[in-house]
Symmetry: C2
């Protein structure tokens, strides 16, 4: 028995290498260090693969012990929680078949084929049953089954879906089965050591329909969503965030503040921007234009439709047709609504011969694009069919690329600062060298070079970024920008892409100082994303209490009785002269009612005018989150307010 005496080298994260017996488990390794570490450990990473703590290690390996309080453990906890929920459901509702149940952001779900839909009461019962299972502290045990035995087993149990999943797996794939006590499931794993490691910081959230294998032609299954966290504190924080998010729901506030509306006769996913929403759009566009003007951008305007042949050239029609609206036949040509502005900008670049002296050329347009989304996918401003995009394309030489890219990144930071976005992450998606020529343009040197340049730019700009290998676009590395709202909800804001391939396809070129022709690089960028998604984000982020410069109605004048209306009007006229967005409330209502009306509309500043103000030729100011802030001269007030507006100061909220 040679193997028993064999030793393997275990490399720890700090670089230490220790010989360990062949077949040692993660738990053994942890216990060798300390019993408290053994208690805290839930899994182990072996040569970058996460496995059960109880599995034997049978080769030299770099390892990393995963503690329950780590981020990696959280996904395991959620996945195990899904298994425990499935067991509980089958205990309580015999005849229910299991299908799949992954961990997802904030929790997990499991799809069941249930004889009847679950109610909210059912969810409570299931939760209780789950707590019992967890309390028993049953170990998760991994086993490898023969394929045919597995199919027979699940069929005999009436688990048709599970049997079908196994039948569809590749023949060579190892079939691992995880059991917790009597209950078992086909699962790749890994899992926690036992059910108690899951903890009790979970909650079942809702029931929804879901098609088997996501295909609407298949049967409808019942999905239960749960949220699950490492600690009660995390759970509470998440649930509070949800409550707050519901209060800040952009659809609700959008309606209350008359920002946008939808109309069945216009069509779903096609927002109509009301006057207040149009002010938001115009203020954001003004900011973008000023920023881009400083950045040396030129503005262009292009039509919303174009011949199909242009989208054949750009590759949109072959890769993206499902997300495009259907064609219109005009004079024997197919025309499409544009899903992206790129080809039009490329055409403008190509409209003149270009020399190196003109580069970089930065073409910006808040262009409206149209994309087909299934009606079930539409969601307020977050998923729409028409979108106004803060688009621009930068055409530059390789030498200019790094500076241009960094400038784009700095533009993000400027916007984050203006909008008080404190948490963000840039996800740099890189190519996979093994897939050059297939998934990625076959330009190995250019990939490495631009990826290096992008990385350097991110480092130079001290930007918060992570690298994600094998997720680049076909034609170059890209950066997905994630931001978190004031209440901690994550949003995908925008994507920046580097493009080697399309400029060549469009025959774009410039001549260098020796009159030699080159193809420029192209950066696609849209730091403010689309108006739709960005305003949806801002509504939640500010709960509708936008900073003053952005606020559709910045102030309201409230004369406390009719006899002060003339004075009120004179104040109004003066404010209007300075282009301040002010209303006047001369209704014959009590002051309290007028203040309430203003509060409901979230108007940040109220100017209250009565006997004293008229006599002293002053105004009294009431400011949201600050209450009465005193009496002042109008001219003084105007200069302070204009400073706040023109400098786009952040609102001091409570």
């Amino acid at each position: 028995m040679n193997k028993i005496n064999k030793e393997i080298s275990i490399t720890f994260p700090d670089g230490t290498i220790i010989k360990k017996p062949y077949g040692i488990t993660g738990l053994n390794i942890a216990a060798d260090i300390s019993s408290s570490l053994a208690k805290q450990s839930v899994a182990i990473e072996v040569n970058s693969e996460l496995i059960d703590l109880s599995r034997s290690i049978i080769e030299d390996a770099s390892i990393n012990i995963i503690k329950r309080n780590s981020d990696q453990a959280l996904e395991l906890i959620r996945h195990d929680c899904a298994h425990v929920m499935a067991e509980a459901v089958q205990l309580l509702f015999p005849g229910t078949q299991v299908t799949i149940g992954p961990a997802i952001e904030n929790g997990f779900y499991y799809d069941f084929a249930a004889p009847k839909p679950f109610t909210l009461d059912d969810l409570e019962k299931i939760e209780k049953q789950m707590l019992k299972i967890i309390e028993k502290d049953t170990p998760f045990v991994r086993d490898v089954w023969n394929r045919d035995d597995a199919i027979d087993y699940f069929k005999s149990k009436g688990e048709i879906y599970k049997a079908e999943i196994i039948e569809d797996l590749p023949e060579q794939e190892e079939l691992s089965i995880y059991s917790q006590g009597d209950w078992l499931d086909l699962c790749k794993g890994p899992h926690l050591p036992s059910t108690k490691h899951i903890g009790t910081s979970f909650k079942l959230m809702k029931v929804a329909g879901a098609y088997w294998r996501g295909d609407e032609k298949n049967e409808m299954l019942t999905r239960i969503y749960g949220t699950c966290w490492r600690t009660d504190k995390e759970l509470r924080k998440y649930l509070n965030m949800l409550v707050e998010a519901e209060k800040r729901d952009h659809r609700k506030i959008g309606k209350e503040m008359k920002i946008f509306t939808f109309d069945e006769e216009v069509g779903p996913g096609l927002p109509l921007w009301l006057p207040n929403g149009t002010i938001l759009i115009e203020e954001i566009e003004k900011l973008a234009k000023e920023t881009e003007e400083l950045g040396g951008y030129d503005r262009v305007k292009t039509p919303h439709i174009t011949k199909g042949s242009l989208y054949e050239k750009s590759g949109h029609l072959s890769h993206y047709k499902d997300s495009m609206f259907p064609a219109m036949d005009i004079d024997g040509n197919e025309y499409y609504l544009k899903p992206m502005n790129c080809p039009h900008h490329h055409k403008i670049y190509a409209s003149s011969p270009r020399t190196y002296k003109e580069l970089p050329i930065r073409l910006a347009e808040y262009g409206t694009c149209y994309r087909y989304e299934k009606s079930g996918q539409l969601f307020g401003l977050m998923r729409v069919r028409s979108m106004q995009m803060n688009d621009a394309h930068i055409y530059c030489t390789e030498e200019q690329f790094k500076k241009e890219f960094l400038d784009v990144c700095k533009m993000y930071l400027k916007y984050f600062d203006i909008f008080g976005i404190e948490k963000y992450e840039m996800r740099l998606s890189l190519h996979d060298p093994d897939k050059l020529g297939e998934k990625y343009v076959d330009e190995p040197k250019l990939w490495l070079k631009t990826e290096d340049l992008v990385r350097e730019a991110l480092e130079d700009g001290k930007l918060n970024y992570v690298e994600i290998p094998g997720e680049a676009a076909f034609y170059g590395p890209k950066i997905d920008v994630q931001v978190w709202s004031a209440i901690g909800k994550e949003f995908t804001l925008a994507t920046n892409q580097v493009d080697f391939a399309i400029p060549e396809k469009f025959g774009l070129s410039y001549t260098d100082n020796k009159n030699k022709s080159h193809t420029p690089l192209c950066i696609h960028r849209a730091p403010l994303g689309t108006h739709e998604r960005f305003i949806g984000f801002l509504i939640e982020h500010f709960a509708g209490n936008f900073p003053l410069w952005l606020m559709p109605v910045q102030m309201v004048i409230i004369p406390i009785s009719d006899k002060f209306n003339d004075y009120a009007q004179s104040i109004y006229d003066e404010l209007k002269k300075h282009k301040i967005r002010v209303n006047i409330d001369t209704r014959s209502e009590k002051m309290g009612a007028k203040i309430r009306t203003a509060e409901i509309s979230k108007i940040p500043i109220m100017i209250i005018l009565g006997e004293k103000e008229v006599q002293d030729k002053t105004i009294s100011i009431r400011r949201k989150f600050h209450g009465n802030i005193g009496t002042t001269q109008l001219s003084e007030f105007i200069s302070l307010i204009l400073e706040e507006i023109n400098e786009r100061k952040k609102t001091k909220s409570k």
Copy 2:
């Protein structure tokens, strides 16, 4: 012979009534006044109908003698010129058939079925032949023919088209034939007394193809266009205008100044606005927004597509479908590109319940609309398929209507003043009381009332207008606004409409102070028309020398040698701080070359910097149309320039 002694009453324009013998002709009446009047007269209006001077008057009549120098005569001269041209063509090119030949703006045309196309040399020959015919001074003689005889006659002459025209005429219609010597043509008349009255102030302009009866399924005929005037002075003025218009052709200047481009792969009629054009657009929009802000408008934004059902409701699909792009099927609904913004604005009005206190509501949007024009009809920016419209809809009560309408008219005058448009005309199209319920909404009182209000508004505003009965839109009176460019070419700028009908169809309402529901009136207005047509007009109007506030590049800094580049850069930075659109020309070229480059781009101001300027810390200014205008301090220059820009002053041209 009773008739011979019978007398009829002839009422002259000044109200004088004189008894004249039955059967008297216009020529006799003129001769009775003076022989010089008889010489000058060319036709007579009898009870509002224009007839030949030689025709007998056989009833009491109000008359108006038409002199050759009158505007009414001009149309006759042009029409007769067409007849003479047809005779000349048939003389010179036997086997050519005649079809039709009307007078048109600036001249006339005649469509021929010719064995072979005419060349420019042919036109010269035809002109010479026409002069001969005119010189002979042959009288135009009217005759009435029997229908079958006429058909037989023209068939026997091989005039198939003419015979076909007669065959298609209603049986009861009197067939008048006009002859000049041996040549004759079917014609309603009237005509001048003789060919010499045509004069010689005409010129044949060009040859074009034209389908028989305007239908592209029919044979292609050959059309000859001519221009024709009362005097050589008028003719010269027109020909000079054409030369000037060609120099100012918006397509030519648009290309030279890099304002817009078209691309075959994007599609015809879909302009791509280059950076300079986008500056024009943004400056015009800024002007519109400021003006509308002062006018109490709210801005909105709406999508470019919508369900067909909305355009069924608005009536566009039943009346306007040929001008719309074809439908796109989305989820089983037909969606269309919007040809007009109205239905979307109506939907925004309808998105909240409205009370009389909110009215008038003025919703403005520079909305891009799409209309199908045949590709042969497309012409630069003047006829396009995508158009950005200075649109707004005003919803008001009947009481508010007149003021609102007048305010719209005043807005036009403001724009005319800013753009130096000195000649304009508003054409007020009224309803026809006989066609109520058919061609016009059956609201007799509302028609009269709103027409009166519109008329009053036009009078109050001292606007230059003419009334055109029976040309109103279905749902209310409308005003077509014609403007003339600096070189005297006429453009249709925009249409304003009053709308009784659509607000009701869309169920728009407001409650009055007794909580009773009413339908608002709606004014459709677009004083600046579309960016496409308006910018096309402005290019011609200014020959590209836009006023400073509108000019894409307002100035260029020209250091006269490389050693002044640093100083130039400091001037550039300072100007940029004030958002002045300035370029800097640091090429290693001679000053003369730099000045020429600036002149070609029509840059209005050049800042020339040399030794002296650097030493004195000054700048030297050269201004288009004014040459060198001296040396100044930068700060002084900036304040003057900002005043010129911010007040949108007119350019002082030569």
